[in-house]
Subunit: 211 residues, 2 copies
C-alpha cells in the first residue's frame, strides 16, 4: 500500500513529513493540494482535516494530520529517525516541539507575509515582530548545533527534519545561511544525505508555476 | 523522589505540565522561576535549558524541556492521559501539536502583548494580527469539541491539558468563553475534574504579587 501525502511544494510543514518519508525508503506519493486556489478552505478538505491544514497523510485506514504526528508514525513503521535510546527519543521530541512552536511556525508565517501576501497587505510592523521572534529561535537552533553534526545523537532524526522545514526555500524571509555558521553546516549535512531532495523537487507545486 | 517543575503562575506553558502532574497523583513540587525578573535570560538558566524557556521538569537524572515532552513522560510513568488505543494516542498528539503551533503559542504571545508589555510598546497592528490568527485556532478547537466532552476519547488527555493551557487566565487576550459554547462547556468539564486547580493556585507567582 502506497502512503499518500497531501501536500504542496511551498509548504515547509509538508516537507517535514515528505523528507523522512523519502529518506526512510517507504513507498509514498504526493497528492497536490491547491492551497493558493483555496482548496484547504473547501468543505471537502475540512472534512479530511478539521484543522484545515496541510499536510495530511493517508496510509490505508490510518489518516494523520500534524507533521509531528506523521514523523512519529514514520518512525513507528520504519524504525528510523526517532532516536537510539529513550533519552534521545525525548530529546528528538523536544526539538520537534521547539520547531512547531518557534521555528517553522514563525518562518512559515514570515515567508508568507513577505512573499505570498499581496504587497498592499504587507505590514512592516507585523513583519518586524515575527522576524525578531524568528531570529531568537535561530539563535537557539544555532547554539544547539554548536560542535554537533545533528541536533540529537550521531545521525539524522525527526529533530533535524522538523527544524529544517522552511530553511531550504529561496524566497526571502530574513534568513541568510551565512549568518548562522552552525545552521549552515548542519543544512549542508542534510543536503548530503543520500536521496535528499529540495522541497520544490520532492513535492508538486512551486511559485514559478503561479508566476 | 519528588519531581520538580520549574515554573511560574503566569505561564500557561508551565500549566500544561503542572496540571497533568497534579491530576496524575505523582509526587511533584513547583520551583518558582522569576521570569519577570529576567531569570530565564541568566547564564544559569540557559545552562539548564538552552531554549531559555519555562517549564523545565527534573525527575532524578531526567531533565526535560517542552511541555509536550513532559506530558508524554507523565503518561509514560503514570499510564494516564495518553489515549486508550494507538489511534487515540496519535489523535492526542495531533491536538497537542495543534496547540503548540496555533493555540497556546498565540494565546501566550497575545496575553503578553496586551497585559505584560509596557503600554507604550503595545502595537495595535501586531495585537490585531495575533488576535485574528488566535480566533481562527479557537474556531478549529470549538469545532473539534462539537458534541464531545473531551478532545479525544471518553476522558481527559494531554490533548485537553495542552489546549486549555492559557484559557483559565483572567487577563484579557480577546478570549471570551461565552463566544465559544463548546470550548466553554469543555473548560467546565476540566474545572470539574477532582483535584483541578487554577494556574494561579497550582503554581507560585501571579500578577497581584507584582502590582
Amino acid at each position: 500500500m502506497t502512503i499518500k501525502l497531501y501536500c504542496f511544494g511551498e509548504s515547509g510543514n509538508a516537507y517535514k513529513a515528505a523528507l523522512p518519508l523519502e529518506l526512510s525508503g517507504l513507498a509514498w506519493e504526493p497528492v497536490k493540494v491547491d492551497f493558493f486556489g483555496g482548496e484547504t478552505r473547501s468543505p471537502d478538505y475540512q472534512a479530511l482535516n478539521i484543522m484545515g491544514e496541510v499536510p495530511v497523510l493517508v496510509d490505508g485506514d490510518v489518516t494523520l494530520t500534524q507533521s509531528g504526528v506523521m514523523q512519529m508514525y514514520i518512525t513507528e513503521i520504519s524504525g528510523k529517525f526517532g532516536g537510539a535510546t529513550p533519552a534521545e527519543a525525548r530529546d528528538v521530541m523536544r526539538w520537534v516541539f521547539f520547531d512547531n512552536h518557534k521555528v517553522s511556525s514563525q518562518a512559515g508565517m514570515l515567508r508568507f507575509q513577505m512573499n505570498f501576501l499581496p504587497e498592499d497587505k504587507r505590514n512592516p510592523d507585523i513583519i518586524g515582530f515575527i522576524a525578531a521572534r524568528l531570529k531568537s529561535a535561530f539563535k537557539t537552533l544555532d547554539a544547539g548545533l554548536e560542535g554537533r553534526d545533528w541536533l540529537v545523537g550521531d545521525g539524522p532524526t525527526n529533530a533535524d527534519f522538523s527544524n529544517c522545514g522552511y530553511l531550504f526555500y529561496p524566497e526571502p524571509f530574513t534568513f541568510t545561511r551565512s549568518d548562522w555558521p552552525n545552521i549552515d553546516r548542519w543544512l549542508s549535512n542534510i543536503e548530503a544525505l543520500p536521496g535528499w531532495k529540495h522541497p520544490y523537487d520532492l513535492m508538486p507545486g512551486n511559485p514559478s508555476e503561479r508566476a
